[in-house]
Symmetry: C2
């Protein structure tokens, strides 16, 4: 029996399971799964060097299923190979064919779309929001090259999803970085959800585009195992793209019409579908039983020690190393610069630290890291979606990636960030030039929604006792330096928000920072009529306001609340020791710090919380002071706001 006959026989056998598991679930995508079944079988049984009993082996070849909805095909092939599920070696147990019926159950690792975090370790990333898989594969490939691992990354992509621009960002990135260890397979079944796929995503159009992007294109019949194997068994000096013509609902007439996207057979239809699949098999003279064909050589296991990161290098030493001693001496250093210095110190401390940036490394100061560790720096150019998903891929391979751009442009990748949260990817995101203090460049470069956006994920559990995303908003270089270290040491996603302007140092070099922490900078002893709470650049503006009030004999508490999920208790306690009034000052839109504090206060006695934040769409102004004044956030405005709050009846 040839291997192709084995694949054909398995396709019929497992096709039946695809039909029945989706019918059992009452939802799912059997037609898409059937269209990729021969490709998945050829990959997993013939081409991929991996051990189904050890899907965690960092040396093994990987499959990224970008069109996540087609996942029943992978579940079926994996169960047939006895692949293990579970969150680690200790909890691992083989997936059995009968487990397939648990598809989409609450207790099942077989989630509706791929998700390694639910106990399906064969995958590296949650997929299902389309167009992200090729970038994830690129990140895995970066990591493999850095670690000198001879592993191949196969990425299976739908034709319809090739409309997503991110696919083409990834195609560029892979060529730029010569990641020939990634191979893409485009599943051209010609059907989308609402209609046929556009001619712009036909097999021919995709082949033309991929060639123009510098890929080596190999067209195949996607239900012919020999053609698939032949196209993928040799590599090239260019990345390989296989353009596979397939049939949606392969083998089952009931599922072939374009109206069947995402529709399982009813229990009444199931026997008819099964019969149609059997008839297809008979017509194609598929052997009724598959022999056990030999699988590719298993790669030797590579050890990947989960070391802890050391304690932070001293601030002064790291700043000097980064050429920033002068900035410290002048007491004027932007938080974004301190980020660069911290990244260099981290790079020296641990070789797993890598960095991605999108053509703004001389603004985010990732360039400092790039200069010291060029092989660990990945220039993504102006393509933020690919950057975030590639970072998630690299994290899946055990690295600790930092990805930076302007905070505004990080918004380009919020969907990718959400997918990385679902994956529980250990990705560190840094957004610079945030808030209205950017001034002259105007609102297209300011980030104003980000505080609310990232806080939203900070109070949702990702398992292991950590939130879906931790965030930091440091007010000075010392804080930014130590927060960068906190990010690296925290085993999950983090976001840090930095600012453009140089600011004074507020903290001694060895100040301590922690997730959810805050620091009292002024007052707090008791009796202060109001506690002003802020973060980032605005702490400096609030300090000016507090100094103006102090000169009138009114001494406020000033608290720097630099991290979410915020522990609000110390802030409420400080307010209770004084006038039970809190003024929260932010340079972003609502939903951030004031919301966090108000939510906590609203469960307590009567603490009055008042929010001053950016309540208009900003525009350009030549200086931060001007735009702050225009937005009602100047020191004078804040001082007046504090006075008003103090005199409000309680």
């Amino acid at each position: 029996m040839t291997f192709a006959q084995v694949i054909d026989a398995k396709a019929v056998e497992l096709g039946q399971h695809i039909l029945s598991m989706t019918t059992a679930a009452g939802s799912g995508h059997p037609s898409s799964a059937l269209s990729i079944l021969h490709i998945v079988l050829t990959l997993m049984r013939r081409l991929m060097r991996f051990d189904p009993a050890d899907p965690w082996n960092p040396a093994a070849d990987r499959l990224v299923l970008s069109e996540g909805h087609a996942v029943p095909a992978v579940y079926a092939v994996y169960a047939d190979l006895g692949g293990v599920v579970g969150s680690d070696h200790a909890s691992a147990k083989p997936l059995r064919i009968e487990d397939l019926a648990s598809l989409r159950e609450l207790s099942s690792p077989l989630d509706g779309h791929p998700n390694p975090a639910e106990g399906f370790p064969f995958f590296d990333a949650a997929t299902g929001s389309l167009g992200q898989g090729l970038s994830v594969g690129a990140g895995l490939a970066c990591a493999a090259r850095l670690r000198k691992l001879d592993r191949r990354i196969f990425v299976l992509i739908g034709d319809g999803e090739a409309r997503e621009g991110q696919i083409w960002e990834a195609a560029d990135f892979i060529v730029d970085h010569r990641l020939t260890n990634v191979s893409a397979i485009f599943n051209c079944n010609g059907q989308g959800q609402a209609d046929y796929v556009s001619p712009q995503q036909s097999a021919d159009a995709l082949a033309r585009k991929l060639a123009a992007f510098g890929w080596e294109v190999r067209p195949v019949d996607g239900h012919d195992a020999e053609q698939i194997e032949s196209a993928l068994s040799t590599t090239s000096d260019r990345p390989i793209a296989v353009v596979a013509r397939t049939q949606k609902g392969w083998g089952v007439d009931l599922l072939k019409d374009k109206s069947n996207h995402g529709k399982p057979l009813t229990s009444e239809q199931l026997p008819v579908g099964a019969q149609q699949l059997a008839a297809t098999a008979a017509q194609r003279r598929v052997p009724t039983r598959a022999d056990d064909a030999p699988r590719p050589r298993m790669p030797a296991r590579v050890a990947m020690p989960a070391r802890s990161l050391p304690e932070p290098a001293p601030f002064g030493v790291a700043m000097k190393d980064a050429g920033l001693a002068g900035a410290i001496a002048k007491n004027a250093c932007a938080t974004r610069r301190a980020y660069g210095a911290a990244l260099v110190a981290l790079g020296r401390a641990d070789e797993r630290i890598i960095a991605f940036d999108g053509d703004v490394s001389n603004s985010t100061f990732a360039e400092m890291f790039a200069a010291k560790f060029p092989e660990r720096f990945f220039e993504c150019k102006i393509a933020e979606q690919n950057m975030i998903s590639a970072a998630a891929g690299a994290a899946a391979a055990g690295l600790i990636p930092f990805a930076s751009s302007f905070a505004k442009f990080i918004a380009r990748a919020y969907d990718q960030i959400e997918m990385a949260q679902i994956t529980r990817a250990n990705v560190k995101i840094v957004g610079s030039h945030a808030g209205i203090s950017l001034a002259a460049d105007g609102p297209s470069q300011m980030s104003l929604h980000d505080v609310a956006y990232f806080r939203s994920a900070s109070e949702s559990d990702a398992g292991r006792g950590i939130p879906a995303c931790v965030s930091f908003h440091p007010a000075d270089a010392v804080a930014a330096y130590h927060c960068t270290w906190l990010m690296a040491r925290h085993p999950g996603m983090c976001y840090m928000r930095t600012h453009r302007p140089d600011v004074a140092l507020l903290y001694p070099p060895d100040a301590r920072f922690e997730i959810g922490g805050s620091h009292t900078l002024l007052g707090g002893r008791g009796g202060e009529p109001v506690a002003i709470v802020s973060a980032g650049y605005m702490v400096h503006v609030c300090k000016q306001a507090a100094e103006q009030l102090a000169s009138q004999g009114i001494h406020c508490t000033l608290i720097d609340a630099y991290s979410f999920p915020l522990r609000a208790e110390p802030i409420l306690a400080a307010a209770e020791r004084g006038g039970r009034r809190i003024l929260v000052v932010e340079d972003n839109y609502v939903g951030g710090l004031a919301s966090a504090i108000a939510e906590a206060a609203a469960m307590r006695g009567a603490i009055h919380v008042h929010s001053m934040t950016c309540r208009r769409i900003p525009k350009s102004a030549r200086t931060p002071a001007e735009i702050l004044r225009a937005c009602g956030l100047s020191p004078e405005d804040i001082a007046a706001g504090a006075m008003k709050l103090i005199h409000e009846p309680h």
Copy 2:
């Protein structure tokens, strides 16, 4: 004097202004502006049919400057033509050459990046976050074709920004819809911000790619007006892409090195730069004075009456028209279905209503509109970024676009949404399948951050007394129907969040809804120990919880708070009439409804606000009930939460 000589002379004259205005501003991008100057001059002086005294004329040709940072070139050419600035005809006044020195000032219409909303009506969209302009141009082109206007849309794009996947989404969309009235000009100066542009974005590579995407490619020297004119003066049956080789910092040696991105000359350098530009002129034998060359014929003004939308068609009539009478009779209709019915009714009421969708119109129910008004429906396929920016372009042309996808995939376009907010684009966004009630499909298809994200913009002023974004979260078909009408009638950006499951009707067909409004569904008369506040699908779950409590003799208030910016006063008042306790229940991550209410409550006496929301990353479950239980949001959980809150000491 040939027109090309005029352009050459103007380039030198206005180049001097570009140098001096950016030096005056102390920031800006003179090197990028100089690279596009001949292209902009050829467009604005030779090719574009527009009247500088009437930039609002809907018949005029348009320029979208996708690489917004290069805008000083456009400001200079526009001032030289005496183009008017201001927010409308009444306030219009010509921009003078001396006004150029106000670049980036707080009171200037010459914002750091293009923004029509600041009084520069020559533009249709705020740009500056890269890669969005071609989509905006596509939206303008859709509108022009619908309105049968012979206007051409020119889009000027940087080579570096052509890395953004959205450019290629737009390229596909333009071919799909045969929008040959759009022409793209790629400015290939070879320099990015941090480094040279990748070979993947070289002029040759871009030409190859564009050809593969089905465009007609015309390469030119971007400083040769004759070549530029010749490439753009004839159209084709395919969209035209001009690939222009240019010099960053053209004419000024001080600015040519790649280290000069975004750097104006210092006041000391300015005379040197001016001298270098003069030397370039001499060397190229550019005439020292430009004649007044004739400009293209001005198009006749087309009237565009700003009609008001009528009152909503009756709910029952519209539902019947949409084939949903049965759903009403069965008392089970998903909010997303009612959206489809409302869109059809709106389409009948006003021909400005158009719709965009991303291959999920059979899920969002935009398909109902597509079936009735095929010429007003624009299928965007799986490319949400292009969809939102194209909708913004269509809005700039006076249409009222609705754009729909799964709420999760709308997150793909948050950066584009922010740019549309800055533009004050009248775009209506609808995200379906939101929240954890989606169940079986799992978290990759659920939207959980969106409530916090859109609320963030709801309390920031966009001018004209409206917020940057209004949002709606209807609980039943009646609410969804009327909220869709509210969206259409509101003159600014709106977001609506719909759900997958069928739900019972809560409201009579003629119930009234309003921006920021809420409805009391149970209790509210006084004496209720707790007010439960929710929105969307969770209102139904809360109702079950309230019924469970009522069966134990505990009668709660139940409030449906379906819109942001929320007027919290009636909710606080209801709580004060009772036990001064509010339980807020949401199926999304934090930062939404509970934040809004807690912020309001935190300025009042002691109202206790407690939030129950999705505080874990969800996974698949077969039914909404199962996933709600897993997330602690079942009716039983909510009833228990209410009991706990009632018994908490005050």
